[in-house]
Amino acid sequence: MGFRVFFFFAIVFPSVFSFTNSQAAVWTNRYQWDANWESRYQQWVNEAWDADFYLRRGPYKNLRVDCADAVYTMRYAFAAENGLPFVIKDPTGGKDASGAPMVISNSITRWDNQSDEDKKRSFLNYLFGVISTRSLPADSYPVAVNRKAITSGTFLLTDAASHHSWTVKYISDTGIPFLIFSSRPAKSQLFTRFEYPTTAFTFPHGLTEQSHAGFRAFRQPQDIGKAVWEVPGYSQQQYQIRLNVWAQTLQSALSIRDEAAEEVIERQLFAICQGAQDRIIYVNDALNYIGKVQRCLNAVEYDDLSSPSRDRRLLGSIEDLQKTYNELSQQGYLDKISAPVKAKFLQVLFGSAGNYCALQISANKTMSLFELVDGFDKGWVSSNPHDSLEARWGMTNQKSELAKKCATY
């Protein structure tokens, strides 16, 4: 009898207890983060992380995400898939009895009665309500400037004033980042960019460490709560780059070969085309919303639905292409560009015949990239969500009635 009681307490009870415990967590940690898992994480981001991530079958299908949500998901999904811990600092300032900062991790036990897949979705959804671009600094650190440090799985964070972030899918051989990101309002389809964002948007108050802006990597769980300079891999190198040559410096440091002139043109054309196609989505989001509410937007709605930063970025891409044209023209290189690339080049900048990246801006309206470039040149393209479709796309400089009377923020 005594042995049986001993057996029960010594073996059965702890087993049941540990079983219950492991069931309670969102997922069980089977491994710990180390250099090998960091390397596998980078490989996974390079291969599996893409703009359709939330459209595929699985626990994350159709989740609607903003930019910071997408950044955290990149790390979360890999951790969940491989039984690795996912830990962030409680961004609401929670502290334990000893005054130490609380963390939020996959050991949370709020969704005990759900299936494993549902728990992963519920926890991520919960995180979306807690995290933001402002919580990212405490969960990450600024990295050194080399291809090992700025690589797949890192992310680029802006100054708090711009509150935006992009994930890095990979860095090309020519030193250009392929970025995957979301924006507001939150949606499931992610956006892509193949270029460095403008410094005016990324570092509006200068390139300082205090702004937290720049390329950053996620902290491992044991580094959460540490001072950032104590985190392995922490580097101040990025803050030694001069802002006026930020993109060039990074490209130079991260490239393993030169970028040919034709590649530069293709990249800049892609940036304009992608930016304009993405613009269709968020302009229509705004028009649909205004159509529904039929009133002036408040500050938060205006912030969600206006597009001044994105329009500045698109204009910046257009100016980059124009600059490339001028440089190649001055150096007499234009004739050396292949005919298909040159044709696209001339269509976008001069309205030559062709159908490169036509923009279906509504069910019955199409415009060319050149018409958009022309709208920007005239200063007619409107970022104001109160404006009409035509004004938003620079087809007219007439403000809508709502745009005339409603406040801008």
């Binding site: 600092k89 961004p91 609401t92 300032g93 929670g94 334990d96 609380m102 949370i108 709020r110 919960y126 309500g129 807690v130 933001s132 671009t133 402002r134 600094p137 405490a138 050194a144 400037v145 080399n146 291809r147 100054d159 708090a160 004033a161 711009s162 509150h163 030193g175 509006p204 108050h205 460490e209 205090q210 702004s211 937290h212 540490k226 001072a227 950032v228 300079w229 922490y234 580097s235 101040q236 190198q237 030694q240 780059i241 001069r242 040559v245 060039q248 410096t249 490209q251 130079s252 440091a253 490239s255 070969r257 030169d258 408040n298 500050a299 938060v300 912030d303 930063s309 801008t408 923020y409």
Partner: protein
């Protein structure tokens, strides 16, 4: 005897060998660093800042940033006696009664550093209502630049926050609430510190400020239909709090 005679030469030889080895080592390190900064031999001629090096210096920064500053809490500037004034003011204005009914309206909260810069990066207000702890997180904005919406969290029994909807009156950013005041008044950024004040009425307020200094602050709220306010100022080493 001969060994003794040769000792000085032996030591000199050892020093010379160590010195040469050191020079060779430093040269090698230097060459490694030079080659590391140019990852691509054909990279365009981009000018790096003179101090840009591959080897990362790791001293603690002069100004720990917001996320890190939590670990280095500044010593409280206002003494317990000063807080007595604040507490009496709070009690007198029936703050508890108002708060137990629901909402706190805190219209203005100013802090500035010795250079006169007014900077708040984020404001976290911790309060308890009906025995349930809540946290309100508000990020200020600068000259109408992009904003993040304020977020309200209920703290659950596991100590972790759960996001909940903001009360309707807080959603309207054009009103005269704490949210719009904080968001419209203060620029973002800069190095900040964090701390916590305990205020009667089961309320604590976390503050976030610049340069480890609160030199002044003001709080205003509505209490039982009346406006109440506290203004504290640290001038010439003397702290004054006025209760209105």
């Amino acid at each position: 005897m001969s060994k003794k005679r040769n000792q000085p030469f032996f030591y000199i030889a050892v020093i010379v060998v160590i010195g040469l080895a050191g020079i060779l080592f430093l040269k090698k390190e230097s060459a490694t660093a030079d080659s590391a900064t140019t990852t691509s031999p054909q990279a365009p001629d981009i000018i790096l800042s003179p101090t840009f090096t591959e080897t990362t210096p790791q001293p603690p920064p002069q100004n720990p940033s917001a996320a890190e500053a939590v670990q280095n809490k500044p010593a409280p500037i206002f003494s317990a006696a000063d807080w007595d004034v604040v507490m009496k003011c709070v009690e007198a204005s029936d703050f508890k009664k108002y708060f137990s009914n629901g909402f706190l309206e805190l219209n203005q909260w100013i802090n500035s550093d010795s250079r006169g810069q007014k900077t708040v990066d984020e404001v976290l207000i911790h309060y308890v209502n009906g025995g349930v702890p809540y946290r309100l997180r508000v990020s200020p904005s600068q000259r109408g630049e992009a904003k993040e919406p304020p977020r309200l969290f209920k703290v659950d029994t596991d100590g972790l926050p759960t996001p909940i909807d903001l009360p309707t009156q807080w959603k309207n950013m054009s009103d005269n609430s704490i949210l719009s005041m904080i968001r419209q008044t203060y620029p973002v950024g800069r190095t900040i510190e964090s701390g916590r004040w305990n205020i009667p009425g089961e309320m604590t307020m976390d503050y976030t400020l610049e340069n480890q200094q609160i030199t002044q602050f003001q709080m205003q709220w509505m209490a039982a239909g009346k406006a109440a306010a506290i203004a504290c100022d640290q001038a010439a080493q003397k702290i004054k709090c006025q209760c209105n």
